[in-house]
């Protein structure tokens, strides 16, 4: 079936079945499933897929990707589980057996660009795929297939001075599974109805390399696969085994749905932290209210502003991490927009010592690093962000609800985190 969709001033043909965003009225939730399906996808902290390279504190899983509506599929391991981004992005080199249909039209192809806060970026085509994890299937949603363009340069509006991490070594993974608290990677600002100049997220490019910023309707944006599941589509749980200290590996689960099956009920004792318009909450730390804080399984450490903790040397084996003389035992308080709060005790150790003493380990509960410098001043300016990376997940069961998706009775509207 060919659907024609208007975007960027052109007509775009989309090979897909009926694409209906659950966030726009569809979807199902609640605890009324009659036939529960396997909603548990194993994840592991194992150093990642690159031979000879250890990705510290990275949580990986495998995803089965299929040509839409077919049984032509490939299972790809080494996919980073990332609650700090939205959508599945996979290296083209990891799916050589697949020919996923790219969104395109009027002689141009549709491309996606994602910028990361470490200064890296990913460029690739927007393609349709069926995405399978556990027994869950997301049919016909948009994914990003990471690949350099042939015959033209990546537009500077995308590269933006950053580093292209378009290969397994640079990415440290075969792809990224973004299961953060939003349904799509861009949202209203990219939708034609916004009426504004599109941001540097989507581009249409003609074969001659003439690329233009493009508007893309919600339903064609790179999508959090969870919202396309017929059931268990209102959020995820990331649950990791607790660690007594640095370890070779850690294991855990990515559980789909919140309050939709007996294994994903939010415990009464859990605290629910509602989020602001940027999906952030506040972390009180060192007598400061860090009001742009968030939980991110894709950050491989605890990153927070504390100028009193020395950083590891730039030419060490752990540049940019913290290197205190002795382990630092610290405390912070997370506070939701709803005022609900919880105190977190955590520790940060010397990253050079950790890496040197445990050269084959991949799981480091005390890995940390700086997040800005100086203080968080008034006017929401300054170093105002606590990035609760993967070490925060060890020994916790973290619930992340997805914006726009219906939540169980008695719980706030999404998005929120709970643990």
């Amino acid at each position: 079936m060919v659907r024609r969709v208007l975007f960027g001033g052109g007509v775009v043909s989309v090979m897909a079945g009926a694409l209906l965003l659950a966030a726009c009225g569809g979807g199902s939730s609640g605890s009324n499933n009659t036939s529960p399906i396997n909603n548990v996808q194993p994840i592991s902290v194992s150093g990642g897929p690159v031979p000879g390279q250890i990705y510290p504190d990275g949580a990986f899983t495998s995803v089965t990707i299929c040509e839409p509506g077919t049984s032509t599929c490939q299972t790809v391991g080494g996919i980073l589980v990332d609650t700090g981004s939205i959508g599945l992005r996979v290296l083209a080199s990891a799916i050589p057996g697949l020919n996923l249909p790219q969104l395109s039209g009027a002689g141009t192809g549709l491309f996606s660009c994602v910028s990361f806060v470490d200064g890296s970026f990913l460029w690739g085509s927007v393609a349709q795929a069926d995405v399978k994890m556990a027994d869950e299937v997301a049919s016909g949603g948009s994914v990003q297939v990471i690949q350099n363009p042939t015959g033209f340069q990546i537009p500077t509006a995308c590269s933006n001075g950053g580093v292209n991490i378009d290969n397994q070594v640079a990415l440290g993974a075969n792809g990224i599974l973004g299961v953060g608290p939003e349904p799509v990677d861009c949202g209203f600002a990219c939708d034609p109805s916004s009426g504004t100049t599109p941001p540097n997220v989507y581009f249409t490019c003609a074969p001659n390399g003439n690329c233009q910023l493009a508007q893309v309707p919600f339903a064609q944006q790179v999508i959090n696969p969870v919202v396309l599941f017929p059931v268990d589509n209102n959020g995820v749980i990331v649950e990791m085994q607790s660690l007594g200290g640095t370890a070779a590996t850690d294991s855990g689960s990515l559980v789909f749905g919140i309050g939709t099956q007996s294994n994903n009920t939010l415990p009464n004792a859990a605290t629910v932290f509602t989020l602001d318009d940027f999906d952030n909450f506040t972390t009180n730390f060192n007598q400061q209210a860090l009001n742009a804080s968030f939980i991110d399984s894709g950050s491989n450490g605890l990153f927070f502003p504390d100028d009193s903790i020395p950083q590891c040397a730039g030419n060490s084996i752990a540049p940019g991490f913290f290197c205190p003389a002795s382990i630092q035992n610290l405390s912070a308080q997370n506070v939701g927009v709803n005022g609900r709060n919880n105190t977190v005790n955590f520790s940060v150790d010397n990253a050079v010592n950790l890496f040197q003493s445990n050269p084959s380990d991949a799981a480091f509960p005390t890995l940390g690093g700086p997040n800005g410098s100086g203080i968080c001043s008034n006017q929401n300016s300054g170093a105002c962000s606590f990035d609760w990376g993967l070490p925060f997940f060890y020994g916790r069961k973290l619930f992340s609800s997805i914006d726009g998706q219906p939540q169980p009775t008695g719980l706030p509207a999404a998005p929120w985190w709970a643990y």
Partner: protein, 152 residues
């Protein structure tokens, strides 16, 4: 603190036509080129030791340019759902930014906030998809009385 609306748009437009490059290290007049590029509105706020030219773009990206009493843009900060155009904002310092990011990214495996702190160039970014924040400033050009933590 007082807030005044930026009032030299026509003159600046004449001096700096579309796609003129700004801003870091440049003259205060280059702020207007950034505003035009972002299709935004600008407000100027006076702090103790500098002025802040705050550009609000329609796509909810906010850029702050910090201008010394001598009229030089010594820092830029931003926040919003998307990254700003770094080449536009950093002007002559864009290549410096590129090299610094490349050097840092090649030194580790993983994902984290960017933190480049050298004696003459500081770049820090943080956040996550749909919520970016960052700043670049020139420590040697920060006017006396300005505090670095305010420059964001």
């Amino acid at each position: 603190m007082k807030t005044v609306f930026y009032g030299a748009a026509l003159l600046a437009l004449a001096l700096f036509p579309f796609h003129a490059r700004a801003a870091l290290g440049g003259r205060v007049e280059t702020v207007e080129a950034d505003r035009v590029h972002m299709k935004g509105t600008v407000q100027v706020r006076q702090a103790n030791a500098y002025s802040v030219h705050e550009i609000q773009a329609p796509n909810n990206v906010l850029v702050r340019e910090f201008v010394s009493p001598a009229g030089v843009v010594f820092g830029v900060g931003w926040r919003g759902p998307f990254m700003p155009d770094m080449q536009q904002l950093l002007g002559a310092h864009f290549a410096h930014y590129q090299a610094a990011v490349q050097a840092q990214k090649s030194g580790y495996v993983g994902r984290r906030p960017l933190n480049i702190q050298s004696p003459d160039f500081v770049v820090q970014m943080n956040g996550h998809m749909r919520a970016y924040s960052g700043r670049v400033y020139l420590p040697t050009q920060v006017p006396p009385g300005a505090r670095a933590e305010e420059l964001w």
